[in-house]
Amino acid sequence: MMREEHGNVAPALISKGEDVGEIRVDIPYQLITILETIYSWVPKGKIAVITRRCDEKALAELTKRNYIDEKRIIKIGLACSKEQIAKCRCSDPVPSKVDIGEPNEPVPKDDLSERLAKLSPEERLKFWVKQFRKCNKCFACTHNCPVCFCDDCVLEERTFVPEQSIPPGLSFHMIRSYHMIDKCIECGECERSCPAEIPLLTLRKMLAKDMKEVYGYVPGDPKAVSPLNTTLEGETLEDECDEC
């Protein structure tokens, strides 16, 4: 959860019996990312987490891959405010069970995606080149992402991203967007935490639309298997071989 501390809003894990303090739900910390880091340090018992709709979906992606045991998590549903929904251009803002806040209407469209879709490929490329040139390789987009969970990050492999390349080039964000294509739950944390304010959520939304068009798949469903892990006939494949 988040609470007021030192005049700021801080993430906090409270044990049973501890004073909760003043809870704040207006600042969207990515609690699932924080949960992932501390999960192994809390070996027993249940953990309650304030979950927005996107957090719920992130949890689904994590539990599906056995990173987190669903039975240990208690979800406290938070319905996002109108302002927050507008900021995230969120098309799916209401959690399955609302404990805090009032459900609000989704914002179904992202203006920038629509503008980019109308551009010629040359102009679109120019737009993204300009944006990616601002990248200063802080890795905030992976660091803060709730569904970035690989042990070895492909973006830290020298073959794909040479060391000390600043900016890391066009392929950095393209590779990342491919990697997230069957996991991204559009929480927007990458965009919020980008110091250069690259519209990463817009890029994610554009590719989520493509994923839905090509395979009818939307990440965040605890039961659905990613089409990248099935055969053309839809049978589930074993995990990918790391050797090749």
Partner: protein, 678 residues
């Protein structure tokens, strides 16, 4: 099981970003940005995200050590402190207090720096106290004290967001101050014009409006050239100059010789580009200047800073929102270490040691007699050590064996010392030379304050205990003070130290831990009700009228010759920090920039038959190092660049220790060098 998130301040550059350290059962497991922090805005750079990585590294110093038979041996605190007191007392009695020097640290807190300078002045009786600001912004302090009366950033970091024109010189902002660079990017997105003047292409200059490449060491020439263009084209802010400044006629007289042709010949900057830059800067209302080591680290660094001040005053771009002259300070607390009096000529709050009134004030407060003569600067202390006049040094958290110029001679000087005590967190190259080594606590292990580059006083909050027997520097300084028999070292917390410092430092008078726990206050903050000062010099300059200094271009102390045809310049990269003691022990940072390299222009490399990635020897009159060549078009012809982070090929083996006569800053940015295949 316990998990907590501790809000604290980043230990890297001087931006002062706050973030949460994640602590699980006493282990630091990660960093979470603080979304409501007004400086970082919930964003961090790669160093910030890895700021937890070195803290619990196995290399940390955990026990005091004494050198015996050439080896450092583990001892008790009692034994180590006894040895320091015994040696220091002996040397002081035999050679006098001025045979001892103390180095404060820009990595220590304000409270610690306050105690360290008090230790030198009150307990040892010498003003020989200095720190690494001598190597970075000493010329800013002296130059801006002359021009404005205050040597700090005139405006604040958030103001970069709304600037309409930003002139950046001698600063690789996106790499050295990434979160300030990010604000410049935001200004750029909003349509601001960015002008970068640098011998290298930097990540920022590649996306700026105007990228000007000057020959290293020719800055006064282009600055004076710009001022002349501004005067000739009638772009001077006449009203500002008339009401707020003095000595404009002298400046006019000097710059009239800096014709665009002459400037082009000296600097290599095409005249039409300089004219464009001058017009852009002068005509834009919200125009900011940011500069760093590229301006200060010259043998005429003070004059260079004065030239920058002239430029800001001529156009009246000072004392208003999103304008001003903004030195970017490189260490987390280099501003604070200066504020707290870690300087040989100044008490806390820039009060002169040779001013009888100030001296009397501190004597009364501390209850001791104080020396009235300014002490030795860091750079002079090394020269005195070499000459055998300085006998002992106590160094807190500095790695002079990598950071200082002309390491060959420095090493000899350090070896000349009869006694050297080093307080640090890792076994640095300097600690290897010490007679006594004391293990200190790092930023995550103590309370205290850092003052960021824009004068904001930011709290550190203790997240974990120091490793082994290590103790926070403030505890060590208090203990030493008491053992040396001095009064005034009885403190039980950093908050108490700040209370004393605030009572003696006018700029900090309104600061206490309770207030800054909840809000960002920038000095001057003269009373407990005062809300701090964002913009300096709004109504008048700190010294009254701003003073134009007529300064002339002078060539660097060492120019390329037939034998040493290249100009060597040094600097940082994004992933490493200073002498690498912390970043090189952070796996993700070390992965990005694991080895030293020299950047050389493609045409120069071709002429010398050097391929990208090949090993080369780079030499100057003072030494030689071997490292990898990075062939690039991002540096101008005839210049080479080496980052100074790497002990295995320390750029400072080559650099020139020639000093600026006013500030004693060494000319780290220019020396003559040659390159050959290794």
């Amino acid at each position: 099981m316990s998990v907590k998130h501790v809000l604290t301040t980043c230990p890297y550059c001087g931006t002062g970003c706050n973030f949460f350290l994640q602590v699980a059962d006493g282990r630091l497991v990660g960093v979470v940005p603080c979304k409501t922090d007004e400086i970082s805005l919930g964003r961090l750079c790669i160093k910030g995200y890895n700021a937890h990585a070195f803290v619990q590294h196995p290399d940390r110093l955990k026990h005091p050590m004494i050198r015996e038979g050439g080896q450092l041996k583990q001892v008790t605190w009692e034994q180590a402190m006894d040895r320091i007191v015994k040696e220091v007392t002996r040397i002081r009695e035999k050679f006098g207090p001025d045979s001892i020097a103390v180095l404060a640290s820009a990595k220590c807190t304000n409270e610690e720096n306050y105690l360290i300078q008090k230790l030198a002045r009150a307990a040892l009786g010498t003003n020989n106290v200095d720190h690494c600001a001598r190597l970075c912004h000493a010329s800013t302090v002296s130059g801006l004290l002359y021009s404005f009366g205050s040597g700090a950033m005139t405006n604040t970091i958030p103001e970069f967001d709304n600037a309409e024109c930003i002139l950046i010189t001698g600063s690789n902002t996106l790499e050295a101050h990434p979160m300030i660079g990010a604000r410049m990017l935001r200004a750029l997105d909003k349509g601001a014009k960015i002008i970068v003047v640098d011998p290298r292409e930097t990540p920022l200059s590649r996306i700026s409006h105007l990228s000007l490449h000057q020959r290293p060491g020719t800055d006064i020439s282009w600055i004076n050239g710009m001022i002349k263009i501004i005067i000739d084209e009638g772009l001077v802010n006449e009203e500002f100059v008339k009401q707020r400044t003095t000595a404009f006629d002298e400046l006019k007289e000097v710059v009239k010789d800096y014709t665009a042709e002459k400037v082009e010949a000296t600097t290599g900057i095409p005249r039409e580009k300089l004219v464009e830059a001058a017009r852009l800067y002068a005509k834009t209302e919200k125009a900011m200047i940011a500069y760093a080591m590229g301006i200060t680290q010259h043998s005429n660094g003070t004059n260079l800073v004065k030239a920058m001040a002239n430029l800001a005053m001529v156009t009246g771009h000072i004392g208003k929102e999103s304008t001003g002259l903004n030195p970017l300070r490189g260490q987390c607390n280099v501003q604070g270490a200066c504020d707290a009096g870690g300087l040989p000529n100044l008490f806390p709050g820039y009060q002169r040691v040779d001013d009888p009134e100030s001296k009397a004030k501190f004597e009364k407060a501390w209850g001791v007699q104080l020396p009235g003569n300014p002490g030795l600067t860091l750079t002079c202390a090394m020269k005195e050590a070499m000459a055998g006049k300085l006998k002992a040094m106590i160094i807190f958290g500095e790695n002079v064996m990598i950071s200082d110029p002309d390491l060959g001679h420095l090493e000899e000087a350090i070896e000349e010392l009869e006694f050297l005590a080093v307080v640090d967190i890792f076994p640095t190259e300097t600690a290897q030379k010490a007679h006594v080594v004391l293990p200190a606590g790092c930023y995550a292990e103590k309370d205290g304050t850092f003052t960021s580059t824009d004068r904001a006083i930011r709290l550190l909050r203790k997240a974990v205990d120091p490793p082994g027997e290590a103790r926070a520097d403030w505890v060590i300084a208090c203990d030493l003070g008491k053992r040396l028999g001095s009064p005034g070292f009885d403190f039980s917390s950093p908050a108490e130290v700040m209370a004393e410092m605030a009572s003696l430092t006018p700029q900090y008078a309104g600061i206490d831990f309770g207030r800054i726990d909840k809000q960002v206050l920038r000095w001057p903050c003269p009373t407990k009700e005062h809300q701090g000062t964002r913009i300096l010099h709004t109504q008048k300059f700190t010294k009254g009228l701003g003073v134009f200094a007529p300064v002339e271009h002078a060539p660097p102390m060492e120019e390329p010759s037939e034998e040493y045809p290249f100009i060597l310049t040094t600097g940082r990269n994004l992933f490493q920090y200073h002498t690498g003691t912390m970043t090189r022990r952070s796996p993700k940072l070390e992965r990005e920039a694991p080895e030293p390299y020299v950047e050389i222009n493609g045409s120069d490399a071709k002429r010398l038959g050097i391929n990208d990635g090949e090993r080369v020897a780079v030499s100057s009159k003072r030494g030689s190092i071997t490292l990898k060549a990075r062939v690039t078009d991002r540096i101008i012809l005839g210049s080479i660049f080496i980052p100074f982070h790497y002990a295995e090929a320390a750029a400072n083996r080559l650099t020139n220790a020639a000093l600026d006569p006013i500030s004693n800053i060494p000319e780290l940015k220019v020396c003559a060098a040659k390159v050959a295949k290794a």
